[in-house]
């Protein structure tokens, strides 16, 4: 078996969930991830938690980045986490949240299983570095 040259690449799903229509941030992240050599799947706008879970499972992504600027993270994120758990994908998917998320909500989200939260002002390098270091080894 000599032809098994590794061709691995970090796969990410950049997801917009719920009614929030602000996708500039998601686009910037998608582009930056691509330039960092990741494979990025962009969900498009206005997706339901179920749809995000379906995409994350089928695409077998290492990283799920959820962008929320609507303030509905406390309802939407747990639904996504439950869905991932249902398909046995929760433990080895690195879930990140980005957008406007108040400090007092952060602990709760982390308890749900979100690995890191990147609010406004986070540098892109920081996010990419975090993904490189924490993307699950399978």
């Amino acid at each position: 078996m000599s032809s098994e040259q590794e061709a691995e690449s970090i796969r990410c799903l950049v997801a917009k969930v719920g009614l929030d229509g602000h996708d500039r941030g998601a686009h910037v992240i998608a582009r930056a991830f691509r330039d960092a050599g990741f494979e990025v799947i962009y969900s498009g706008l206005h997706k339901s938690p179920d749809q995000i879970v379906q995409a994350a499972v089928q695409e077998d992504v290492d990283v799920l980045g959820i962008s929320i600027l609507s303030g509905a993270h406390d309802t939407l994120v747990p639904k996504i986490m439950d869905g991932l758990e249902e398909y046995g994908a929760k433990d080895d998917t690195l879930v990140l949240a980005g957008g406007v998320i108040p400090d007092e909500d952060r602990e709760g989200l982390k308890d749900d299983g979100v690995a890191a939260i990147f609010g406004p002002g986070t540098s892109i390098e920081e996010t990419i570095e975090f993904v490189r270091e924490n993307a699950p080894q399978r």
Binding site: S3, E6, A7, Y42
Partner: protein
């Protein structure tokens, strides 16, 4: 071939219909992770039930939207669907944005449509191998219809689409120039032409141009396997083919139909499905299917061997001082690529000769 325990249970889970397992197997195929070959070779025993459809066309022709509607229509007929959507990756960073999923909105929430995005990473026909293997995984999983979607540009894409039983080429209206370029490579691979966005101005003309091209291709032997028939066979009225023995299959040749669709509204999708069915029956009835499958496997074997040998030689290359130093030596005018290739290959050739000699010895004893 033996598999380790983890792969064993992964295979079992895939055959039991677990989506996560299918997703994981495809990742292993894409990554060429250790053991993926054994896994794929185990998959083969469970394949052969799916219809594989390839859809290609220039960027913006409406492929993803059509695939979405096609998947929806198949679902309504109670069939399960797998989609492999291939997007290019950056040659510089290897990164990619895989955007086909966005347009596949009709079927979200339905896990029986399994959409997988793949990027064109890897080289040397690696993508077509990975695609073919991913198709095998979906087939073994039990998908009834598997759709491969890819941008139709370049040899690589054509190779990918060749892994399909039926290839549909999308042509947007008003693309007179595009048709010119299509002539070069894609005319030969199309089993069905689709003029998408058929409600746009110029659609009629595009249909007309395609029709002329298809007929021209038939006469000059360009289209499909039509290359071998003589003028007499062409003149026959096509109904009496039953009593002409030797040219029996010739008359059953496939002429690519031209289907008009408006993918965004779902218009023409049923006609498209009918034509896909027709082509499928044609393949089976004419025996072309067996021939096609044989060719495909031959190609797969060749590609695999090429990759293996290539990997062997990479090691040899490293032993000879690494490709960079060798390239620099050529640049300095000290040697040339042909001499280097001969030198690098020499030990391998010696090995093979020794083996052959050993075999001769042992058979002589």
């Amino acid at each position: 071939m033996t598999m380790d325990e983890a792969d064993e249970s992964l295979l079992e889970a895939l055959l039991a219909g677990e989506h996560r397992a299918l997703a994981r197997v495809i990742s292993k195929i894409e990554n060429r992770s250790p053991g993926y070959r054994d896994l794929v070779s185990e998959l083969y025993a469970h394949t052969g039930n799916a219809d594989v459809i390839g859809i290609t066309g220039s960027p913006g022709a409406g492929k993803s939207t059509l695939v979405d509607k096609l998947a929806e229509a198949y679902r309504e007929r109670g069939e399960t669907v797998g989609v492999i959507a291939i997007d290019p990756s950056s040659p510089f960073t290897g990164g990619a944005v895989l955007g086909d999923r966005i347009r596949m909105a009709s079927t979200v929430g339905d896990m029986d449509v399994f959409v997988r995005s793949m990027s064109a990473r890897g080289t040397l026909g690696g993508l077509s191998t990975a695609t073919a293997d991913a198709v095998k995984a979906m087939d073994a999983f039990g998908k009834d219809k598997i759709i491969i979607e890819t941008v139709g540009a370049g040899q690589n894409e054509i190779d990918i689409v060749r892994t399909a039983d039926t290839v549909a080429v999308l042509v947007p209206p008003g693309s007179g120039d595009d048709i010119q370029t299509l002539k070069a490579g894609i005319l030969e691979i199309a089993d069905i032409f689709i003029v998408n966005k058929a409600d746009r101005e110029g659609a009629d003309r595009t249909v007309q141009e395609l029709r002329e091209m298809v007929h021209l291709g038939e006469e000059s032997g360009l289209a499909g396997s039509a290359g071998h028939h003589g003028v007499d066979a062409m003149d026959g009225d096509g109904v009496n083919w039953g009593d002409v023995d030797e040219s029996g299959d010739d008359d059953a040749d496939w002429t690519p139909p031209i289907v008009e669709t408006v993918a965004t509204k779902g218009t023409g999708v049923d006609t498209f499905i009918d034509e896909l069915g027709n082509h499928r029956s044609y393949l089976v009835d004419s025996g072309t299917h067996a021939e096609k499958v044989r060719q495909r496997y031959a190609e797969e074997i060749r590609t695999l061997l090429r990759e293996d040998v290539h990997a062997l030689l990479e090691d040899e290359l490293a032993d000879s001082g690494g490709i960079d130093d060798l390239a620099e030596a050529v640049r300095q005018g000290e040697t040339d690529p042909y001499s280097i290739a001969t030198d690098v290959l020499a030990p391998v050739e010696a090995c093979v000769e020794n083996l052959a000699a050993d075999a001769d010895d042992s058979s002589a004893e």
